[in-house]
Symmetry: C2
Amino acid sequence: MSLAPSPAALARAGAVLTVDLGAVVANWRALQARAEGAETAAVVKADAYGLGAAAVAQALSRAGCRSFFVAHLEEGIALRRALPEARIFVLHGPNPGTEVEFAAARLIPVLNGMEQVEGWLAFVAGRGRPVPAALQVDTGMTRLGLSRAEFDALRADPARMRALDPQLLMSHFACADSPDHPLNRQQAERFAAFAADLPGVTASLSASSGIFLGAAARFGLVRPGIALYGGNPTPGAENPMAPVVTLSAKIIQIQEMDRPQTVGYGATWAAPGRGRLATVALGYADGFLRAIGNHPDTHPVFATVKGTWKARLVGRISMDLATFDISAVPEDRIRPGDTVDVIGKYASIDALADAGQTISYELLTRLGPRLPRLYRNGDAS
Amino acid sequence: MSLAPSPAALARAGAVLTVDLGAVVANWRALQARAEGAETAAVVKADAYGLGAAAVAQALSRAGCRSFFVAHLEEGIALRRALPEARIFVLHGPNPGTEVEFAAARLIPVLNGMEQVEGWLAFVAGRGRPVPAALQVDTGMTRLGLSRAEFDALRADPARMRALDPQLLMSHFACADSPDHPLNRQQAERFAAFAADLPGVTASLSASSGIFLGAAARFGLVRPGIALYGGNPTPGAENPMAPVVTLSAKIIQIQEMDRPQTVGYGATWAAPGRGRLATVALGYADGFLRAIGNHPDTHPVFATVKGTWKARLVGRISMDLATFDISAVPEDRIRPGDTVDVIGKYASIDALADAGQTISYELLTRLGPRLPRLYRNGDAS
């Protein structure tokens, strides 16, 4: 199976997402170095945050990554086809009745609540031998995971815990991107107490930002997601990760302005007079979030033209279109069919997410299915 | 080809999108009645605003709809497979060099700028006979379309205009959802002048909201999109359209709260004490926009439990998860594996979009590829 879009598909496309797999691998290695001996897994749920789970996971597997996390059973089944040998954890655990599908695809369910634990124990009893599973405990996120009381009740029944035979004990930080938040220390302490009660089982608390919280948050396995894809795991400080994605959109039309006129829906932006505009084939249906265009004064957004010139986003982002002021680009250097980089040199994923009043995680996961994914440096691992 | 997900896929899924094709058809008929003799087309770009272009377009075709609009060539090629006979317009027109693919799939390009016009004329000259195309003119959106001067220059050369032989003349409103905006009347007047200069060619100005602007905006063909899918084309007034989509998410875990504690990322929401929470397998990667959870005081959001009970969204929406307060649901009436309707009786697409500070168009087009689409009443047309 080739993961590359055909030249014809690229010619048809209005916009193309380029994913630098070499940068993904470099980011994974940098996180591995920082994790100092903890196993460094990879979170590839939501189609590797929109970048393509199969291509990303295969590149990381070649680089030595052995454990992967997805959210849904369906994602796990698809990833198993791409990675016959890897450990694949499914964070949501089994919907009632789907336990057998986990075993069939050798997927490790994360058991989040007592109903999932009971369902899994019944399934395992029918099999007559343990089937690998992981256990989530809640340390303060109040989202998924056994409470301390549920965990203690389970632990008080050694036969059941033996039947469960967990491969991994995990929990999740609520505020890891705010290093000074008091909940971080509380969660790490609570998790350490859980882990101490389950000796010999690998423990995992930290995702991307947690890896930067120091040794007390590290435990035996870390599971970065956004940092692999170039998002800043240390908001407020410089981004230590390499950029991974470029989003390039084709120009459909260039318009000469010779008088003041408004641009786009709601007529919210008034062009000052003379100048040139380029309308490109990319819009919020592709994940160029509509809110990115809503705060031009406080959060101006710039596309990159031919690696050199800045072109400012003007007016509202439409469903399938956006318009940029290309007055600064020499007239003979740009024409319809050319591309502008909407994620690129002058707009990181964090900057665009900030302009859209959200986080880079959401920006990436909403990159739409219309965009062909073009992979570079897949052999760099 | 069956469009229905298998029972196994539905059992695996964390959330399911149900599309009422009977409601889509009813909305199309209601718009057709309001359009009073204008041809009523259907805009199915962006995969029919996320609902599935093939299923939606086939249902509308059975109901009598003959003309469809997509944005991209690739979308047109896919729709041609679903609808061998329909007229399919491609709004973005040809990228340079792709003209032959339009003809091969009998797609009608909308020519937006002089470069696309010149490219198409060169292609047609090579063929030796006209190939159907449409022409867009700019009347004040300043996004795509020939300027008045470009249109006049083209018209001054009858041989070129004959070679072009446009099937449709179109333009697009910038402010149709604000009926009192002065730009509406200006655009309608400018467009009427264009249309008068191209007698015998069908003219089209109005999308969903334009249909509600009265006879002066009607012309020969109207092309609704969002109103077909249940979005309100008359913001500020009651929604005249029937709801089309239900989004149901499965409960992974129910947690009992017995003390005050915070919920979710950033610990932004503090549970007051006793109560029950349900965490469901739906998040912003699925299109449950993160911003929907950001304004709980001014824009509380409620899921519908078993058609009866309200469950309030609490804490931030995660990538793959969201948490609802189900304290109002009797304990014996809800358990893990059950679903809650996140788009449903207590949350319309417009209300959710409003909570997320965007528009229903973006909410629908961002419904993610992880969600199986379940179609109902496909035989109602």
